[in-house]
């Protein structure tokens, strides 16, 4: 029947081992999809919105599947590799991404629908920062933003972000530093603006 036993429960089977197995048994690659589709989709959705994210996330796994023989199976975690693929795909939608940030910078709240009153209040509170964040993201250089978002949203380390983007770790760190400086400046400005509004209100 061709059953391949991998030792231990799923969590103990590294991505590298699964991908190595998929070289002989392509079906095994579905496990990589199952493990990471939602994260990859979520990352793409944050950057591009839901509609484009559907296509981009799907294509990420198709490309990954086709390139699985190139994966260095000594690497246990496939996320930098997958985020590299999705980042590359997202970069093709550069204009759409910027449009999204600019639109969010104007409106702040993308959509708040449904949920009970408390839930909506919490979401609105969290999203009060979205406009200045979006405005800042729209002004940060593409290559710096790519590192920043891999660290902030994909929760990669700067080294992993460098790996994902195919750049040296030092370069990733300097890009991250630059992007964070811009982000901090934008947040400070937003905070001052909010403080002024509060004072005016009082």
């Amino acid at each position: 029947m061709g059953a391949v036993n991998l030792a231990g429960p799923d969590v103990n089977v590294s991505d590298g081992a699964v991908i190595a197995e998929s070289w002989q048994e392509p079906e095994c690659f579905a496990a990589i999809f199952d493990r990471y589709y939602l994260r990859i989709h979520g990352y793409a959705a944050r950057r591009l919105g839901l509609s484009l994210a559907d296509d981009v996330a799907s294509e990420t796994f198709l490309i990954a599947f086709e390139r699985r023989h190139r994966y260095q199976t000594s690497r246990p975690d496939a996320q930098p590799w997958l985020y590299g693929i999705v980042s590359n795909l997202i970069s093709r939608h550069h204009r759409a991404e910027l449009r999204r940030y600019r639109a969010l910078a104007r409106s702040g709240v993308a959509e708040v629908a449904g949920g009970d009153a408390d839930e909506v209040v919490v979401r609105l509170d969290a999203q009060s920062l979205r406009a200045p964040l979006a405005a800042a993201l729209a002004t940060i250089a593409d290559r710096d933003r790519a590192v920043l978002l891999l660290v902030a949203w994909a929760e990669l380390t700067s080294e992993q972000a460098g790996e994902a983007l195919g750049i040296p770790a030092g370069t990733a760190r300097s890009r991250l530093h630059r992007a964070r400086r811009q982000l901090q400046a934008a947040l400070s400005q937003a905070e001052s603006s909010l403080d002024r509004k509060d004072e005016d209100h009082e």
């Binding site: 061709g2 059953a3 030792a7 429960p9 799923d10 579905a30 989709h41 920062l129």
Partner: protein, 224 residues
């Protein structure tokens, strides 16, 4: 809270994919996995429902319809390794009815072999199999070889039933039964899978039906 945390939390959680998008992406991957290895040049990915349907139509036009009948049993969930253990196959004039009544946690090669033998004896060129399930720690060989065509399906209280018309299955086309267990993380409405994926199949007439036309429980989700 530093700026990275603010960026993470201030932006809010991303919208989750619809179960349709999720299923379409997974089926696109299955389809790619089932395809014979070809040149390594970049092929246009099949993304989203429209891409999938367009692809399905193209495949049907080429008389190489490659579809997967995917089932997610009611009550299955993370950690549940779906296996066919109860089925009946009944031949009528021109049709073969297949009823899968339950899925157990134990893989049974005997069940699988018995189902296939029965189907083949009744003129259905079937293959069956299972997918990798993350929680199982096992990976089963692919059943997704050959070509596929489907069938009318309806959901039962304790399973799912299919009506297969062998005469409508073109030469070289096979019926695949592939059980896709939901991943540990997935859309909340995961149990709608069974409604969605058959809707993505190419029918024997080569006409694709949009998932939006489907609703469970209900009969005849795929028309011939």
């Amino acid at each position: 809270m530093n700026d990275l945390q603010i960026l993470r939390e201030g932006w809010g959680q991303p919208e989750r994919p619809s179960s349709e998008a999720w299923a379409a992406a997974r089926v696109a991957l299955l389809q790619r996995q089932a395809a014979p290895a070809g040149p390594t040049g970049r092929r246009r990915a099949v993304g989203g429902r429209a891409g999938w349907l367009a692809s399905g139509l193209a495949l049907a036009a080429a008389a190489t319809a490659a579809c997967v009948l995917a089932l997610t049993p009611p009550g299955s969930g993370p950690g549940h390794q779906g296996v066919l253990t109860a089925f009946t196959v009944t031949r009528h004039a021109g049709t073969v009815d297949v009823t899968l009544r339950e899925l157990s946690r134990t893989w049974s090669a005997a069940d699988r072999a018995a189902l296939l033998a029965k189907l083949r004896a009744d003129g259905v060129p079937a293959i069956a199999g299972y997918r990798w399930h993350p929680a199982s720690g096992k990976c089963y060989a692919s059943p997704l070889v050959g070509q596929v065509i489907v069938v009318t399906a309806r959901r039962l209280l304790d399973g799912i039933a299919f009506e297969i018309r062998p005469a409508r299955i073109p030469p070289g086309v096979r019926v695949v039964f592939a059980v896709l267990s939901p991943p540990a993380e997935g859309p909340d409405h995961i149990h709608r899978w069974a409604a969605i994926i058959p809707g993505l199949l190419v029918t024997s007439s080569g006409r694709c039906l949009a998932p939006a036309t489907l609703s469970w429980p209900g009969p005849s989700v795929i028309q011939h």
